[in-house]
């Protein structure tokens, strides 16, 4: 039986005023209570102007505090209102389901407790990246990894496709208590990438614009300079292909054979 109380998680997109869909805005305006986690202080003020009860999720962060606990508290704050029978709207920057555990977990938990819960898609930093950098992920393929996860686990990467590393500003952090790691950790990341990319390979430090009066950050630098670059929580590292795609001749031969069989059977 579905209980009273509901949750919808929506995305604001990246830029104030530019990316919020009419449908998501309607969810915000019609909710009983709104929780917000945004990527720019002025965007937070914008959301506060849309509804009389907007509760920021910022206070749940703290220096030295395990971010797993922070995320659990954020989820619990939203679920408490859902259990109280209220229609809750969780507002997140970008797309609420892209590199965003809290909205997914909140929805999963709400549904598990018998409440209606769903997510509305938003325009993510990835979408802005493609537009701003003129990249089509279909051209050569595109791999996306969270930067620390890329370091912690053995991954097979294809250097003939794009590689995008998210949250590179905290690359290598296992403590979940820091909001930045320093050059020493990033040197380890560069060392890892150097297995597949020359150190002089051009990469891009990217940040989507959050205000219509600002430009995106699209800083081109050499891989060897990444360790000492200004990398923040919101910075994404884009690594273009370093070699041409290699034909898979065995597969091409199989496809050619199949094509001939189909022609002959017709």
């Amino acid at each position: 039986m579905t209980q009273q109380g509901s949750l919808v998680c929506v995305g604001l997109g990246m830029m104030l005023g530019a990316h919020l869909s009419p449908r998501s805005r309607s969810h915000i305006e019609q909710a009983d209570v709104v929780f917000a986690l945004v990527s720019d202080p002025l965007v937070e003020l914008w959301v506060q102007g849309m509804h009389g009860d907007v509760r920021s999720l910022q206070p749940y962060y703290a220096e030295g505090k395990d971010r797993h606990r922070t995320y659990r508290e954020m989820i619990e704050a939203m679920l408490a209102e859902v259990r109280a029978g209220r229609s809750v709207c969780g507002v997140f920057y970008g797309h609420p389901g892209v590199f965003a555990q809290v909205p997914h977990r909140a929805i999963e938990q709400a549904r598990g407790e018998g409440f209606q819960a769903h997510m509305e898609p938003g325009i993510s930093a990835e979408d802005c990246l493609y537009a701003d950098l003129g990249i089509d992920p279909g051209t050569y393929g595109c791999q996306h990894y969270e930067a620390s996860q890329f370091m912690f686990y053995q991954r097979r990467i294809d250097s003939s496709a794009y590689l995008v590393l998210w949250q590179v500003g905290i690359a290598g952090d296992r403590s979940m208590r820091r909001f930045a790691t320093g050059p020493a950790y990033r040197r380890l990341l560069v060392h890892l990438l150097a297995h597949d990319y020359p150190l002089e390979h051009e990469v891009i430090a990217y940040e989507a614009a959050t205000l219509p009066i600002a430009a995106p950050r699209m800083e081109r630098l050499r891989l060897s300079d990444v360790a000492d670059a200004d990398l923040r929580l919101q910075t994404t590292l884009v690594i273009p292909p370093a070699r041409p795609m290699q034909s898979n001749q065995a597969m091409l031969d199989c496809i050619a054979q199949l094509d001939m069989e189909i022609v002959h059977s017709n």
């Binding site: 914008w46 910022q58 962060y61 954020m74 997140f92 555990q101 790691t181 205000l211 219509p212 929580l233």
Partner: protein, 91 residues
């Protein structure tokens, strides 16, 4: 909602491509001089100060490690540690 935020919202959905149009529009907004100057200078930080936005804002909601790999670490770690015991951010 402040006039500045309303203007930014309008600009977000109806961009002005001409700097002259932008300046002319800002000039007739009902704002105090400091806010107008900050908008004309496209000074994000100054606007934030003037409007009382947060000085520092964090926005990471994604952990690097999936939960099943995290469980063992959770059992070993304390909930919070003093800031001075955390490895430094910059080296």
């Amino acid at each position: 909602m402040s006039n500045v935020i309303q203007f930014l919202e309008t600009l977000g959905s109806k961009p002005m491509l001409s700097p002259a149009d932008y300046a002319a529009t800002v000039a007739v907004l009902e704002l105090d001089t400091e806010q107008q100057e900050a908008l004309l200078d496209r000074d994000h930080a100054r606007l934030n100060d003037l409007l009382g936005g947060r000085e520092k804002l964090l926005c990471s909601v994604f952990p690097a490690t999936p939960d099943d790999d995290q469980k063992d670490d959770d059992e070993k770690r304390e909930d919070d540690v003093p800031v001075e015991d955390i490895p430094p951010e910059s080296e």
